[in-house]
């Protein structure tokens, strides 16, 4: 393996000091001159018609500048998803609506000089609603008498059916010795980014719109807003400041359109910050899913056929729905000769589903891994042995995929993780005092893969690198660091390529006025897609420096090679070596002066899957049904880890989100009152310090030939297998297959009939 100087080292992140001393500026920390506030009136009903709105009292509130009603905004349909344009992204949403389709839908908005005045004005808006029948889950939404949410788009509540296949599924089942069938359920969960969705929209008089935005996809945001507001894209500027997480939540528009229109009308910058309550039900949730699986295997444990029929609840609008379902079809880490995936994206009046770390994969992986565990036991095989027997290897293709795998270090992951598990068990058996027969302990193991960049391969990125005369560099990238540390990672790639220290890179990221296009921060793209763009921009800069040196030293460019940070010029009488710094000081000024600007355009050709193996150890009290989560081990193949500590941090964070998904998180809707109950962080539990087991991370020494310095991705991967591992561990302990998450206390007790 190559000897790297900057890559593969755990450098501290650039912005950590600012964050540690409270000086990092997030959107809400900006105060613009003349700035006012905006708030949105959201529907209290899951389905209703607005019969009338009386704004006269609201307008009288001191400090109120404007009340915006549905008739005041452009009557255009759009899709808020921050994906690049696609026919799957059906446009069915309005900026403000008089026909709210979920509790939280935008009805009206206010701009006022204080937040208090905004709140008072919203209270004084008199809205007359006619409540309509609402449906909340896919079963209700697909009943014949269900209200159609978008009759103009579909004659049922099915937005789209997504199909993926290979081989002949019927033949596959014929060739199987045993066929298993079951149904699995996964809940709606919320991203719970620590920073709420926040925007400052400033529509200046000269027809320019500037938005400081918690955005994962600034360039898509710009495109959609420009179209909605009839503006040119270069008149819309999206600035992404320091951001408090995202996890997919900000891969779409939220309130930017409302803020922009308010700002245009009142002629002042407007700050709109979601409350936590708005975050919980009027932002984004992960699609709840109902998944039918049918798997055929041979006696000796080979999977012959794998059929999925899945129903993803997309909520009131299409947004990401069909792409989430499609993404869920593409991430199976097993060799399956006969595969059929039928995924239905279904409208309902529940909160709008969208992107949440994993994008269609956590649901599928939960169902698949649990079922494969059960099958292994029925075949009297060790589940790990059974899964490894069917696991893809280098040269294989994932089901329904076109590209062969160039990297897969699952075996090393398994070995590394098993070693950790062995040590834990050894240690615990040494310290064990007495055996309580009512406490059952067990491990569960789950496997998965994900993607590096959109699995549709539509990831694109570009980067510009300006090399200064002192050999330092300014890196401009359009890819948005939302808290995961991509600015540091991409700078490490640039520094390695240029052969300079990390401190010599200054990075500017994600401002559509200054940085080049990037598809966006989603699909775990930043290291692979963004990293390849940076790698190419550096290559371009090196080529330009080489040419400039050739002119200066009057040699052919082929006489100059760049190796380990040095330009080596070959003369007959011997070699001359220059560092980047020396080269730049020679070529920048003078008669033959050259300015060096490297640039790139990278379009993903592959989206290589990273792989993970996850172990959970639980102890279950068979009398009370309570589960104590003792350990989670996760071993990952992320290709070359550009920054191992950052990879470890991503895995640890992904595990905690996976624990929440498995054990406690769920957006609950009361079907009687038709209200979302999970309206704050008291009624929606996320893991806190005391909920966490001991976490162990193993990072395999992987290498992906198409990745920058061998890297793949990690962000989403890490959370995908966790719920399955926990569910399997509980099943192994209790003998009861877990087919529904979250595995809350009441569920467990019911499950055992205790």
């Amino acid at each position: 393996m190559e000897d790297f100087k900057v890559v593969g080292k755990s450098h501290h992140r650039f912005e950590s000091i600012k964050k540690a001393i409270g000086h990092a500026k997030y959107t809400d920390d900006y105060v613009l001159p003349n700035m006012v506030y905006g708030m949105i009136l959201r529907s209290p009903y899951a389905h209703a018609r607005v019969k009338s709105i009386d704004k006269s009292q609201a307008e009288k509130v001191a400090g109120v500048l404007k009340i915006l009603l549905p008739e005041d905004v452009p009557d255009k349909l759009f899709n808020c998803s921050g994906n690049p344009p696609s026919p799957l992204l059906i446009e069915d949403e309005r900026i403000l609506t008089d026909h709210p389709l979920y509790m939280g839908d935008r009805i009206a908005a206010v701009a006022a000089v204080t937040k208090e005045a905004c709140r008072e004005a919203l209270d004084k808006l008199i809205v007359e609603y006619e409540e309509l029948t609402a449906v909340f889950d896919v079963d209700d939404a697909l009943r014949e008498d269900a209200p159609l949410l978008h009759p103009e788009i579909s004659s049922s509540n099915i937005v789209k059916k997504i199909e993926a296949k290979q081989g002949d599924i019927d033949n596959g089942f014929k060739e199987s010795d045993y066929v298993f069938e079951d149904v699995y359920y996964a809940p709606m969960i919320q991203n719970v980014s620590m920073e709420p969705n926040s925007y400052i929209c400033d529509y200046a008089f000269e027809g320019k719109l500037n938005i400081i935005s918690t955005s994962q996809t600034p360039f898509q945001e710009r495109r959609i807003l420009a179209r909605l507001l009839d503006m040119a894209e270069n008149d819309v500027r999206i600035i992404k400041p320091v951001m408090g997480g995202g996890f997919g939540e900000r891969q779409q528009l939220h309130n930017q359109h409302v803020g922009a229109i308010l700002s245009k009308v009142v002629g002042r910058p407007v700050k709109i910050i979601n409350t936590r309550e708005e975050q919980m039900y009027a932002s984004v949730v992960r699609h709840s899913a109902k998944i039918f699986l049918k798997i055929g295997v041979t006696k000796d444990g080979y999977i012959k056929a794998f059929k999925v029929e899945s129903y993803y609840n997309t909520g009131a609008y299409t947004t990401h729905g069909p792409t989430v379902v499609a993404a869920g079809s593409r991430k199976i880490n097993y060799r399956i000769p006969n595969y059929l995936f039928e995924g239905y994206c279904v409208y309902s009046n529940s909160p709008v589903s969208g992107a949440v770390r994993g994008y269609g994969n956590p649901q599928m992986t939960f169902a698949r891994e649990v079922m494969l565990n059960t099958i292994a036991k029925k075949l009297n095989m060790d589940p790990i042995e059974f899964k490894m027997k069917n696991h893809v290897e280098i040269g294989d293709k994932l089901p329904a995929a076109t590209a062969s795998l160039l990297s897969c270090a699952t075996e090393e992951c398994l070995k590394g993780g098993e070693e950790i598990r062995r040590k834990i068990d050894e240690e615990e058996s040494k310290n064990r005092t007495e055996n309580d027969p009512n406490i059952k302990e067990a491990w569960g193991t789950a496997f998965c893969c994900h993607t590096s960049g959109p699995s549709s391969k539509e990831g694109m990125s570009s980067s510009v690198i300006l090399i200064n005369d002192d050999g330092t560099a300014n890196l401009l990238i359009g890819s948005a660091d939302i808290g995961q540390g991509s600015e540091t990672i991409l700078s490490q790639i640039a520094a390695e390529g240029l052969g300079i220290d990390l401190k010599d890179i200054a990075v500017t990221a994600a401002d559509t006025k200054f940085t080049p296009y990037d598809t966006g921060t989603f699909a775990s793209s930043q290291t692979y897609v963004g990293g390849n763009a940076v790698f190419l921009a550096v290559k371009d800069a090196i080529e330009k420096i080489t040419k400039a040196l050739a002119r200066l030293y009057e040699v052919g460019a082929e006489k100059i090679i760049f190796d380990k940070g040095r330009f080596v010029i070959s003369y007959i009488e011997g070699n001359k070596e220059l560092t980047l710094k020396e080269a730049m000081s020679k070529i920048t000024f003078g008669q033959k002066g050259t300015i060096i600007t490297g640039s790139s355009s990278y379009k993903a050709v592959e989206a290589p899957p990273p792989f993970a193996v996850c172990w959970a150890k639980v102890s279950v009290d068979m009398i009370t049904g309570s589960v104590h989560l003792k350990h989670i081990i996760e071993a990952v193949d992320v290709g070359k880890a550009i920054n191992p500590k950052l990879v470890e941090g991503q895995v640890q964070g992904g595990i905690s989100m996976g624990i929440g998904y498995a054990m406690m998180e769920q957006i609950e809707i009361d079907k009687k009152t038709k209200k979302v109950l999970s309206s704050d962080l008291l009624h929606y539990k996320v893991p806190l310090t005391l909920d966490m087991p001991d976490i162990h991370v193993y990072v395999a020494d992987g290498y992906e030939p198409t990745g920058p310095f061998g890297a793949k991705s990690v962000g989403e991967l890490s959370t995908v297998p966790v719920a399955a591992a926990i569910a399997i561990a509980i099943s192994n302990a209790t003998g009861e297959e877990i087919k529904r998450i979250p595995i809350t206390h009441s569920y467990i007790v019911k499950g055992y009939n205790v």
Partner: protein, 169 residues
């Protein structure tokens, strides 16, 4: 509602700030919007996430759950009050060294809760650290590195204490 204000004076990070405030103004909004200590973060405004944690008379509190008037005449320390210019506080240093900061939105609150703990308990166990931070939500890190950072900070502070004891002798 009439706009009757109350005069308060709070010592924030060692400096006194006097102001006439509405009685319903939270300490959080006072710190952020009246005084400009933007390092104090608003994550939920309802006492559930801990991002707004500050020290009130040395004790970690959710500043969104207190009114500014309740802090009248008292001492408040925010994240901005820990470092002396470029010289970071050992807890801040430890959070950076241990890579315990990802998106950073929970960091100021985490560090203040850790300070409350380490001021009282020089050598906390893992469980004591978890208990002290159990009101601070972090969605990025899974807490492992944060707990390591608090242990690292405890070590740093104990070395610092020993050094100053030596000096006194």
């Amino acid at each position: 509602m009439d706009n009757q204000t109350i005069h308060i004076c709070i010592a924030i990070n060692g400096k006194k700030y006097s102001s006439d405030v509405l009685p319903n103004l939270t300490l959080l909004d006072f710190l952020r919007e009246s005084i400009g200590f933007m390092g104090v973060k608003k994550g939920c405004d309802s006492g559930h996430c801990g991002a707004c944690t500050v020290l009130l008379e040395g004790k970690a509190v959710n500043s969104c759950m207190l009114l500014a008037v309740q802090a009248d005449g008292k001492r408040v320390i925010t994240i901005e009050g820990l470092n002396e210019g470029e010289k970071l506080h050992p807890i801040q240093q430890a959070f950076i060294e241990e890579n315990a900061i990802q998106c950073g939105f929970c960091t100021p609150g985490m560090i203040m809760s850790a300070k409350d703990l380490l001021d009282k308990n020089f050598n906390p166990t893992d469980l004591e650290i978890k208990e002290a931070l159990s009101g601070n939500l972090c969605r990025c890190t899974g807490y492992t590195k944060i707990i390591n950072a608090v242990k690292n900070a405890a070590d740093k502070l104990s070395i610092q204490r020993k050094a100053s004891e030596m000096e006194e002798k």
